[in-house]
């Protein structure tokens, strides 16, 4: 059960088209809302012309700042970053980025609403926007609040200057990465339906309870009046972690019109309105003795945010704990651009930070003429160097050695350009990976039903992560019944509260609650002298109890162990690339991820999730770049033909290894969470492989052919 490679229990629904995503609920009398966007990046709207839109056939309403229903505190009542965002809710005429929502057209039909939205005009008093990250760098300022509420924005240990002075070899390099847009396949969408003062939202989200709270505050209504339903979310990757403007606009229109309204973002509207991984400019300094011992590490990150909200990419957190180095400084700075506010994106912080750190470590290995894995082992952190705490578990050493063995690392030739196969230079590279093992309070309910089925409920989410499947396995395992006897229900605020499905939280948090609820139900039945494993006995028990389900609830919270241990997942990524000697094109030809990520609940879905993370990282490394016109702030590639996410033809064999690990501290199941770490380290492993292949060190993502061809080291 737990640990079995069970096929997805929701697989049949998904392969038959029967899985219902939020925009797909059949709702009577539904009206369609289409968002109108600003055409300038900065300024004030001086006038709206909505006449043509209003008189267009089928149009029910046109909302702008002129007539939109007023919200408490101008729509800012729920603002509590990083989860409660500053949204665009038609409460004023300010324009803060190009494409910002400035209106909503509602019509009987989708086609009518789309057409009418194109007829809305706005006049602007426009100002010159600040869009370009490089030219904005002089305006960078220190980020002061704690990161994610708990991590200091800057750290210092030991004496950095002394450490650098004591070094035999030094690296001083700058790494940059562009805005990366999530682009889940399912566009963000919401259906809002009011029944009197009761609001139901069918929403594509990673956090039904978060949406419920946020929307209640925005409208100034009791939380009890809001129900959020999300049975399937068509990908999220962080961009559906908090409600964006369209959720509120749908609910606002539905209330004013007293009829249900559906708003589905277009693909183009997924650029800017719903967050992205921000620009980063990272300065890395490393110092080391001849034997590879790190004497100094400095990591300063500058990331972009919007003009109206401070959102920081937690870039240097991994650097603080990755290596045993006694002299270290880290810091985060922000640059305000006239763009939409960034947000969490797969492996937030670590994906960007590890790119710089592990690229710099590779450069250091080159300088020291040392094997890159050997350099990392010389500085292996036996305990958390920042907190001094013991690790709850750590198998990184095995990840390096077993991964290297399986990948054939020993055949690597250290000298760049030394392996040629036909038209291609071939190189291999590696990177470390890490991501925190976090846990949050979660609750679950387990019920023995009159028909002998066990229904387990928790308001968590299915984003493609396999939640339905692993929760079914966890419950069946605790009860000692086959998984066919268990039905897991999620995605509804009528079910027990659970945390956001993000940050690799779900298996740890909800998984523990489900486990404890199932154990409690098992014990309750045992106390009734019943046997849950036989259906006859189970039915009999329910009948004896008057036909009512027998139920048990568990409220699971992390405890003191969180303060006593440092809890992190680790991994080692290996990549092989082939770089065309004439064209400079990079093709990934092999990749292996070796992971110590706690107990694996389902090796089948876990393997898929790690591969998916690595492919996400491949896009970040080689192709993804959200391009903005520096003059207008307009997105230049806001579609899937120009914004290049990996396609099938980009993907070679990808291998995954899990270390035999069961964390004794994180939770009763021994998991550490696997959703985020798959994306971490891929960038550096590929960048290091490109260097090994060509001798060209690309420190600016994505690694496109121009950056290789144009390099003096590449002249063939």
């Amino acid at each position: 059960m737990i640990g079995d490679p069970v096929s997805r229990v929701d697989g049949r629904l998904k392969v038959t088209g029967a899985a219902r995503y939020s925009a797909e609920w059949p709702i009577d009398n539904l009206a369609y809302g289409v968002i109108v966007q600003s055409t300038v990046a900065k300024g004030m709207i001086t006038a709206f012309d909505t006449e043509h839109a209003r008189s267009s056939p089928g149009v029910v309403a046109v909302y702008t700042a002129d007539n939109a229903p007023a919200l408490p505190d101008k729509g800012r009542a729920a603002m509590k970053p990083p989860a409660g965002r500053e949204l665009s809710l038609l409460q004023d005429r300010a324009v803060r980025y190009n494409g910002e929502p400035i209106g909503l057209v509602v019509a009987e039909k989708f086609e009518q609403a789309t057409h009418a939205a194109s007829l809305v005009r706005a006049q602007y008093e426009s100002h010159t926007p600040l869009i370009d990250m490089q030219s904005a760098l002089p305006s960078a300022y220190p980020y002061k609040p704690n990161i994610n509420g708990s991590f200091p924005p800057a750290t210092q240990r030991g004496d950095l200057a002394a450490g650098l002075a004591a070094a035999d070899a030094r690296i001083d390099a700058t790494f940059t990465a562009p805005i990366e847009t999530h682009n889940s396949m399912e566009p963000h969408n919401t259906i809002a339906q009011w029944d009197g003062d009761q609001l139901t939202l069918y929403d594509s989200t990673q956090f039904v309870y978060g949406v419920k709270r946020f929307i209640a505050k925005i409208f100034g209504i009791p939380e009890a009046n809001v129900r959020v339903i999300s049975h399937f979310t068509g990908g999220a990757f962080g961009s559906k972690g908090a409600p964006w403007s369209h959720v509120v606009l749908a609910a606002m229109a539905a209330r004013a019109l007293n009829r249900p309204v559906k708003v589905v973002l277009t693909r183009k509207q997924m650029f800017g309105l719903v967050g992205a991984r921000p620009h980063t400019v990272q300065h890395l300094k490393l110092g080391a003795r001849k034997d590879g011992t790190l004497t100094a590490m400095e990591h300063r990150s500058i990331s972009s945010t919007s003009s109206f909200e401070e959102w920081v990419e937690p870039v240097t957190l991994a650097t603080r704990l990755m290596y045993a180095c006694s002299n270290q400084q880290t810091a985060h700075e922000l640059v305000r651009l006239d763009v939409g506010t960034p947000t969490f994106n797969r492996g937030p912080g670590e994906s960007s930070g590890i790119f710089a750190l592990e690229s710099a470590m590779d450069e250091l290995a080159v300088k020291l003429a040392m094997d890159p894995i050997e350099l990392r082992l010389r500085n292996y952190a036996e305990r958390d160097p920042e907190s001094g705490l013991e690790w709850s578990s750590k198998s990184l050493r095995q990840c390096y050695s077993l991964g290297a063995e399986r990948f054939g690392w020993s055949r690597r030739r250290a000298e760049p350009r030394s392996v040629r196969d036909g038209d291609a230079f071939v190189g291999i590279g590696m990177s470390s990976a890490t991501y925190p093992a976090r846990r949050a309070p979660a609750s679950a309910l387990a019920r023995l039903m009159p028909d002998g089925m066990i229904v387990v409920q928790a308001a968590t989410h299915e984003l493609g992560t396999g939640t339905y499947t692993i929760m079914t396995q966890i419950a069946a395992d605790a009860l000692g019944v086959p998984i066919e006897r268990v039905r897991f229900e999620l995605g509804d605020t009528r079910l027990p509260e659970n945390p956001i499905s993000a940050g690799s939280l779900t298996a740890q948090s909800t998984g523990t609650a489900v486990h404890l609820a199932a154990v409690a139900l098992h014990d309750k039945i045992a106390a009734m002298r019943g046997d849950v494993t036989t259906i006859v006995s189970a039915r009999d028990l329910v009948t004896r109890g008057g036909g009512q389900p027998i139920e048990a609830r568990a409220d699971a919270k992390p405890g003191d162990e969180q303060k006593a241990f440092s809890m992190h997942s680790f991994g080692a990524i290996f990549a092989e690339v082939r770089v065309d000697a004439s064209l400079g094109t990079v093709k990934l030809s092999r990749m292996l991820g070796a992971y110590g990520v706690g107990r694996i609940l389902n090796p089948k879905t876990a393997r898929s999730q790690m591969i998916g993370g690595m492919i996400y990282g491949l896009g970040m490394t080689l192709t993804e770049d959200t391009l903005l016109d520096a003059r207008t702030g307009r997105y230049l590639n806001a579609d899937l033909a120009e914004y290049l996410v990996p396609v099938n033809a980009d993907i070679p064999e990808i291998d995954v290894m899990f270390m035999d690990e069961r964390d004794p501290q994180t939770n009763p199941l021994g998991t550490k969470g696997i959703g985020e770490i798959g994306c971490v380290g891929v960038t550096a492993a590929i960048a290091n492989a490109v260097y090994n292949a060509t001798g060209v060190r690309v420190r600016d993502l994505p690694i496109t052919l121009d950056k290789i061809l144009g390099h003096t080291s590449f002249a063939d």
Partner: protein
């Protein structure tokens, strides 16, 4: 053909279709709002009246009254509640809407509903025979060729069509033939394995 209403109708259909396939810059002159210069007067296009459309989907013929601008995808999803076909981009760039028209794969978001009349349409809902899944559906489950599931119907419809296309035997051939279907979760290696399983079984059978 000289009837002005008819001319206007055709013009509207063409304009709408073009607006959805052309690069934003090309469509600028006409309608799409974010690209019009601020303050420019809106176009005076009059939307056409609804028209009757008969669609034969999964063996059943359904008569609908549709806005002529309605795509096959929106007709399936919004009017027929066949929501298995997904809207990922509405621009023919992601493959999530892939259905079969006359047994060949097409992008339902780039096909106007009126264009699909008199031709059999098969969607993901029409692939299984009763409770028995199509071998490709079963292979996707067995090989875990899916995660969030949103691209999955399009992937499977493409994969089933591929069986009758001149796609070479190698994994790389399948990768190429399946590259019109984007999966952001990154299920690609498992999708290739699923397709190859079915092809191998079909060849043997």
């Amino acid at each position: 053909m000289d009837d002005p209403n008819r001319r206007e109708f055709i013009g509207t259909v063409v304009t709408t279709a073009l607006a959805s396939v052309l690069a934003p810059g090309t469509a600028r002159a006409d309608a799409a709002s974010p690209h019009s210069p601020p303050g420019a007067p809106p176009p005076t296009l009059t939307p056409p009246p609804d028209i009757p459309v008969a669609l034969t989907v999964n063996g059943t013929t359904v008569r609908l009254t549709l806005d002529p601008r309605t795509t096959l995808l929106d007709a399936l999803r919004e009017s027929m509640h066949l929501t298995g076909s997904k809207k990922g981009c509405d621009h023919g760039q992601c493959g999530a809407c892939t259905v079969h028209l006359n047994g060949r794969r097409v992008l339902a978001c780039l096909t106007l509903a009126v264009m699909a009349q008199d031709q059999p349409v098969t969607t993901i809902e029409g692939l299984a025979r009763g409770d028995t899944l199509h071998p490709m559906q079963q292979a996707f489950i067995d090989r875990d060729g899916l995660q969030c599931g949103y691209c999955t119907p399009g992937q499977i419809m493409s994969a089933v069509a591929l069986l009758n296309e001149p796609c070479g035997p190698a994994d790389d051939d399948v990768r190429e033939c399946m590259s019109g279907n984007i999966c952001r979760c990154g299920a690609y290696p498992n999708i290739v394995a699923a397709v190859q399983d079915v092809r191998t079984a079909t060849a043997r059978g």
